[in-house]
């Protein structure tokens, strides 16, 4: 199934991707971030907070944003 995946870590990535039916938020997160700590990210499905076990649906928008982003001068 196709979902909109947005990764705001690093350079930023946003595009529709194909994922397996029944995949959970946590499973997708681990795949896409090489198992980084979920606590270090704001994870939103369709712009709403979600549980790690939420099953993604066709057309869902999932975004991953680091909680700590260092500014500079």
């Amino acid at each position: 199934m196709k979902i909109l995946f947005i990764n705001n870590d690093g350079g930023g990535f946003a595009d529709f991707i194909e994922v397996a039916e029944g995949i959970t938020v946590n499973e997708l997160f681990e795949q896409k971030t090489n198992s980084k700590r979920a606590d270090d990210y704001l994870i939103r499905v369709n712009r709403q907070p979600c549980s790690s076990q939420q099953v993604l649906q066709e057309g869902d928008r999932i975004s991953i944003t680091p909680t700590k982003i260092e500014g500079a001068w």
Binding site: L4, I6, N8, D9, G10, G11, G12, F13, A14, D15, L42, R47, Q48, R61, S63, T65, P66, T67, K68, I69, E70, G71, A72, W73
Partner: protein, 354 residues
């Protein structure tokens, strides 16, 4: 449809049109990071030329950090350009609209002004390392989406750094955020019309303190005062007295005229002879008068004045010298002692008293 939703739909349409017709492809070279590195290199060279070894070591460390920042900045520009050159993903109009509707779930207050063509989101109160910075308003101006930074950050209850009124946050100066690690992601979000992601990214930067690269460090936020004149300024602008280690401003500092180390007004000592100022390591006392003199003005630990006095004293106390002729005449003079008679047989002999 509520009033807010109607306004959100119109704003989303304007944003979508702006991005569709004028895709954002902007990059800029990291000139600020370059200038910072240049400035620090000048200071390193200056410190080394003057023999300020301690300052040179500290400055070299900061110079290395600035080179790392410069390298990261160049790398970011490369990433942005690569992203810009590849076909951009543009968020469909309906999704931009949904982004605008979802902002109230992430921010306390959201305002969309069709008149000002602006979206404003207010953050909660931000406190970093115990320093309260208040709330901030992030204002995105959608007509300027094709510019490098089409938004401003206004401090709503400003608690700026003591040494800089325009620095309201360690990473904000003059209402401009220095995005640092978030720059590429913010650029991508704006290029693609992901408005909610943009506001989230900016909020997360505001809630993160990077101690390696702020405009002003939080431990200097309240300022450091010069020990002598109490002027508040950034700690990096203060000098350290080599004798007492106190922190003093450039106005209150002076240089030892021999070793050029920085000394404060209390520790610098005047040479009584040449009237220059020196640090404790380059000034001595005359062993006679105990006044302070630089090493150039002392001769074998004695000052010129005392040497001259010594020379005068030596001349005064020198006893008068007796010659050999006077002694002989004294010996040959006949005595007046009547007990001593000259025997007529001993004519030609001298009577010498025992």
């Amino acid at each position: 449809m509520t009033t807010y939703n109607r306004i959100a739909w119109q704003a989303a349409s304007a944003i979508h049109e702006k991005l569709r017709d004028h895709p954002v492809v902007t990059t800029k070279l990291p000139q600020t990071a370059w200038h910072k590195a240049e400035q620090l290199l000048r200071k390193v060279n200056q410190a080394e030329q003057r023999g300020w070894q301690a300052a040179a070591i500290k400055l070299r460390g900061r110079y290395l950090q600035s080179l790392e920042c410069l390298r990261n900045s160049v790398s970011q520009v490369q990433t942005e350009l690569q992203t810009a050159l590849s076909p951009p993903f543009l968020t469909p109009l309906e999704l931009i609209y949904k982004d605008l509707c979802s902002l109230s779930g992430e921010f306390d207050e959201v305002e969309i002004s069709l008149f000002h063509q602006q979206i404003r989101c207010r953050t909660p109160e931000i406190e970093l390392e115990g320093v309260p910075l208040g709330r901030f308003s992030i204002a995105l101006n959608w007509p300027h989406l094709n510019q490098i930074q089409p938004y401003q950050i206004e401090a709503l209850e400003p608690n700026p750094a003591a040494s800089s009124d325009c620095t309201t946050h360690p990473h904000i100066q003059d209402d401009r955020l220095c995005e640092g690690d978030g720059r590429a992601a913010i650029q991508a979000a704006l290029q693609q019309g992901r408005i909610s992601d943009f506001f989230l990214l900016v909020r997360q930067i505001l809630q993160t303190y990077n101690p390696d690269s702020p405009y002003i460090r939080l431990d200097n936020w309240l300022g450091t005062s010069c020990r002598d004149c109490d002027s508040l300024m950034d700690r990096g602008e203060l000098y350290c007295c080599r004798d007492c280690d106190s922190e003093i401003c450039p106005e209150c500092s002076s240089s030892c005229q021999k070793c050029y180390e920085t000394v404060c007004t209390r520790c610098s000592q005047l040479c009584e002879q040449c009237c220059d100022y020196f640090c404790s390591g380059c000034i001595d006392q005359c062993s006679t008068c105990e006044n302070s003199y630089c090493q150039e003005c002392l001769s074998h630990e004695i000052c010129q004045s005392c040497l001259e006095k010594q020379a005068e004293n030596e001349e005064e106390t020198e006893p008068p010298q007796e010659t050999d002729t006077e002694t002989t005449e004294t010996e040959n003079q006949p005595t007046d002692n009547p007990d001593l008679t000259v025997h007529p047989v001993c004519v030609g002999e001298v009577v010498v008293s025992a």
